[in-house]
Point group: D2
Chain length 202, copies 4
């Protein structure tokens, strides 16, 4: 039903140190004072809301209409499979556009050729809290606020790092309750909001 | 489950000449050249896209969060019951704000006290075509393009004209497939897009 | 200062029958009942608001940031030169996307390769009235409501019909009072709103 | 020309420890682990982008149209007067709505009765960097990302803390280069974007 970019799924080999946001553990460049050690990041996560960007990769037709939506499949350290969106932290000194591009490249590979939107206004702002109830989004690690964008990609997606594969599906498939149930942190709601923002939610 | 503004439902007394947009048949003021006779309107409807405004009435809490959504219940000329949103045509010489206010007053009564949004940009643009397939929205009478807004109301709603009642429901209730199935012209999709635009679609 | 796509400006040769929206005079296909004769169009223009789409063509860099804005230069039938945006009417039975693409092709040529936005929500809705005062936009011919979009173009623009040339300029140049003063119908305000929507208005 | 809520300007009595965001120095409640000491805050500011919310207070007419814009006048520790918007940090565990409401109350007083927007999507996202050039916004203290909203207020504004007064002005007055030049951190651009988002920028 779904078309996968990688039909031969790599064997999941989860790193016990794996985090859904592994770039946090490596500095973008050695001298950046914005780099945080694991201990420091753990500390900051209990003190401040962290700023994230999130992207829903899509394929569009010649008139710009969204015809397919890309969802990432990941293996958690427990071995459990989960679906998610392109997502990652904004670093100190980094613009939102640069962060968005960096995480798209990290998750979809260098040949995805994402077309970042001209407008920096997100289609939605997702607020993740450690405890459920305040919003529909949860992240047990932290309080994160995520600016979410729909991003057309025109090239070939080659998921890297912890993403096992990128699954392309129709807007209708992406909006099903089954798909929502598989998405981590309540991102099914974010995916539906993305579809609504492009006029593709029934 | 749903709270109705009018618990004692008036007996449906459908006018055979009834249209969902009855203001078309009466001039806002006698001398307006924008007034169209029934024959003229029928003619225009086969030649031009008509411009509509549409509103999803909501109740908000003290922080502006949407807690209830209002949906109109109407009787069609066939006696069939159907649900819809506040909706109506923009007249010649009329601003979008004036049209939106006029239709809110027509459908919710003079004491609804709608708070029109500061921004004239709609949360969605719904394209209705006589034949299905081009979009999810249909209107057998015409090609209509509708600018849709979420509008908080702070007063008492007293549906008039052809609306039998206004039903208040939670965002979750409004988003169910059952509710969508009851809404005319595919407006269930528009209602969900409204919920997504205010961060209330799961 | 400005880069023009056509440095050798063609001699203005205004057609006395010229209208800023010449496609109105020709059916998209012969049998379309939405085609209006000049007499019929003149009649409709005094009775109904007409639905338009409008586009601000832009060049973006690799991160999607707008670096140049395209403005059309036209000769009016009086010989006067005026600046405008890509603009045109939505025909009966035509989707907004099709109308937007058709007018971009009409005004920028077939090799412009516009990237229509994934979202059908405009950055602004411009209301044009025959008489000034209701809004900042005027159109002496009619009451028109225009859904306006920022559209990146990646190809070569070759203005056709009545557009003498397309002038590319920086966002700062496009936002000057001088440029606004040259734009017809108050579209300088629309151009600034376009820049603001992409974070490029100082 | 401008109407001020406080015509009798209090004598500026700048605290040498003054910061434009004084709530950072006090915990919302004593036990909140999100409270940062001055030393910790100074440290974090060199390591992470901080999340802010920002509000442009407006007065609207009965149709929701913006007729006046509120701008705060402050005294900096140098004695220099500067204009700014309602602005402040989002605390750990706090929703965006709660942060927005808290800062509106802090800056406009408890009787302002702000009507927070139903949609959590900002009209603009302003990125402030210590060094100029990356964007039009600067903040020498930190890298801050600010979600900006237009917020109608219906009550009486009574600026507190460091805001000397709130000046109400027309949209045209707010958009002048003179006003922009007086606003700190490049917020004149944000104010114009706010006006554009509500269709009030010429």
């Amino acid at each position: 039903m779904h078309k996968n970019e990688h039909m031969s799924v790599r064997t999941p080999d989860p790193d016990p140190e794996w985090t859904p946001d592994p770039d946090d553990a490596r500095p973008p460049d050695g001298a950046n004072p914005g780099w945080l050690s694991d201990v420091e990041l753990a500390e900051v996560r209990r003190r401040l809301p962290l700023l994230y960007v999130e992207a829903v990769p899509v394929r569009v037709d010649g008139l710009g209409r969204v015809i397919e939506v890309g969802v990432l499949l990941r293996a958690k350290s427990t071995g459990e499979m989960t679906r998610t969106l392109v997502s990652g932290r904004v670093m100190f000194g980094e613009t939102l556009r640069n962060a968005l591009f960096r995480h798209l490249e990290k998750d979809l590979g260098p040949m995805a050729f994402p077309q970042l939107p001209a407008s920096p206004v997100p289609f939605s702002v997702a607020e993740y809290f450690p405890l459920p109830g305040l919003t529909v989004f949860t992240d047990e690690r932290q309080h994160a606020v995520s600016l979410a964008y729909v991003v057309p990609v025109t090239g070939t997606c080659d998921p890297r790092q912890d993403a096992l594969e990128l699954t392309w599906m129709t807007p209708d498939e992406a909006a099903t309750p089954e798909m929502s149930a598989e998405m981590e942190g309540g991102r099914g709601a974010l995916l539906r909001a993305a579809l609504a923002s492009v006029g593709q939610l029934r």
